[in-house]
């Protein structure tokens, strides 16, 4: 699903965000990426979602070589990946329903199918009763769950989350983790960047640690 070979990312000005990353994540795995702020977690996610391009090395995601992916193919590439953002990135002038429906609208899904699929996604995250509300009226944890519903409404094979529990207390974090674990059990590849060790310890899954732009440990490195 994700295959990085000697990947480097250097930003203009000479700052190395990632150095010589070798990484393989197979379909159906659930993996945590951890490390201090600035260790390269976010950069790694940006490479996987084609927000940034690698400077050197080979990076293949969903069978696409990120170095050679044409710009006009990027939207279609991103439709295969569900992303949960730390700051949720919801649209505040639209209802919960409309926010979750956005990926379906963008991909031109059958309009008759949209309500059913949106409600299915909202049901998974337990927000079915709030579909007509606006994001501002929701708590932080609820907003995060709207973000998760939006990330999975298209049933992508790969789910990424950047600090999904960053601003939440322990109980809410556990709830969010349970939702991700549920997707993992249904065959979705899940990749979570976090520095929340409570979460990592509770999940008991493969952990990759980044330190100063390098991969320093991988609890489940593929042979």
């Amino acid at each position: 699903m994700i295959q990085f070979t000697h990947v480097f990312k250097r930003y203009p000005g000479g700052f190395d965000a990632l150095r010589n990353i070798n990484l393989q994540i197979r379909q159906g795995e659930m993996v945590f990426i951890t490390g201090h702020s600035g260790a390269g977690k976010s950069t790694l996610l940006k490479l996987i979602t084609a927000i940034e391009r690698p400077t050197r090395g080979e990076a293949v995601v969903n069978g696409k070589n990120l170095l050679r992916l044409p710009r006009r193919r990027i939207p279609y590439f991103r439709r295969e990946i569900g992303v949960v953002f730390q700051d949720h990135k919801l649209l505040f002038d639209r209802t919960v329903f409309d926010n979750v429906a956005l990926p379906l609208i963008v991909t031109g899904a059958d309009p008759h199918e949209v309500p059913r699929r949106v409600r299915a996604a909202l049901e998974i995250v337990g927000l079915l009763s709030k579909e007509k509300m606006y994001p501002v009226t929701l708590s932080g944890g609820e907003q995060q769950r709207v973000g998760i519903a939006r990330a999975v409404v298209n049933k992508p094979p790969l789910l990424l989350a950047d600090e999904p529990t960053g601003n939440l207390d322990a109980a809410l974090s556990d709830e969010i983790l349970d939702i991700f674990s549920d997707f993992h059990q249904h065959g979705v590849t899940v990749l979570i960047a976090t520095h929340d060790w409570h979460l990592i310890n509770r999940a008991r899954q493969r952990v990759i640690e980044l330190k100063q732009a390098e991969l320093v440990s991988d609890s489940g490195a593929a042979a």
């Binding site: 979602t49 939207p75 279609y76």
Partner: protein
């Protein structure tokens, strides 16, 4: 599949329409500026069209006036008139005797009493020659004129068409001027719409960024802005059409009054169907083009980071 495609376009159309009604003041201002900008060349076009229509009525009456020498007796004039009537190029000859000319001049000029002071009639007799329809072309008129000048009795032969032709040349010049003006104002409309759309794009920066992150293509993101720009252009053109109509409505009475003074039944006409469609169509095309240029430029600048 096609049905879904059309349905999506319809959704975007109504969404864009909704966006416009949600900011009525801004929408009105943009539409008003576009309307006034388009109304300017449109109304000039209407004015030129009307003058040209009026003048084309005169051109058909292209006639030659033969001013005869003072000492030619009445009988000789009748004979000359008959001779000219038999020319194939001539359809009709009117004889205005010296006395009739004087009477008409007194009636129309308002100098009647001053003329009474003269001891003799200073006006020449005139033969007004109407060419046959087949000979109304300016070149043929010139040939006829040359023939008529050969008669001894003729003092001055004059085509009354020259000034009509000059008027037409002037109208042609004005028409070209309107075209150039319209081209300049079209660029102004492009800039107005481009700027409106630029602001709309910047206002919805977050939305565009998020849409890009979840796999929205540029075409998808562009679509509502293109509809917005096109709608504004169309509404502006519609307003321009109304403004031209309103202006004409205000001028109807003075025009009828003026035409009445000249004994004419002339009535000013509004833009024809073709011109109206051209106006509305240009509004739509300019709106689409202006928003396309603005969105294309600013969309590239908004990338998720």
């Amino acid at each position: 599949m096609i049905k879904n495609y059309l349905l999506r376009h319809a959704q975007v159309f109504f969404y864009s329409l909704g966006q416009l009604t949600r900011t009525p003041v801004a929408t009105f201002l943009t539409v008003a500026v576009i309307g006034i900008t388009l109304a300017l060349p449109a109304s000039l076009y209407v004015a030129i069209e009307n003058v040209q229509r009026l003048a084309s009525g005169w051109e058909d009456n292209g006639q030659i006036s033969l001013y005869l020498k003072q000492d030619v007796p009445g009988a000789a004039i009748e004979k000359l008139a008959d001779k000219i009537r038999r020319l194939p190029a001539v359809s009709r000859v009117d004889y205005v005797s010296r006395e009739a000319a004087l009477a008409e001049f007194k009636r129309l000029s308002g100098f009647g009493e001053a003329l009474d002071a003269l001891d003799r009639n200073p006006l020449p007799a005139v033969l007004v020659v109407h060419p046959a329809a087949a000979h109304a072309h300016p070149d043929k008129l010139q040939a006829l004129l040359k023939d008529l000048r050969r008669y001894n009795e003729v003092d001055i032969a004059q085509v009354d068409l020259d000034w009509v032709r000059r008027l037409h040349a002037m109208l042609e010049l004005a028409r070209q001027g309107v075209l150039i003006l319209a081209a300049g104002l079209a660029i102004a409309v492009l800039l107005i719409i481009g700027n409106t759309i630029r602001l709309a794009v910047l206002n919805r920066r977050d939305e565009i960024e998020i849409t890009k992150l979840i796999g929205g293509t540029n075409a998808f993101i562009r679509r509502p802005f293109l509809y917005t720009g096109t709608l504004q252009g169309l509404l502006g053109a519609l307003l321009a059409w109304l403004l031209v109509g309103l202006g004409l409505l205000l001028l109807v009475d003075p025009i009828n009054n003026l035409a009445g003074l000249y004994g004419s039944r002339f009535e000013a006409e509004n833009l024809g169907i073709l011109a109206t469609l051209t106006l509305i169509g240009s509004g739509g095309v300019l709106g689409w083009l202006g928003s396309r240029l603005a969105v294309g430029r600013h969309l590239r600048a908004i990338e998720p980071h």
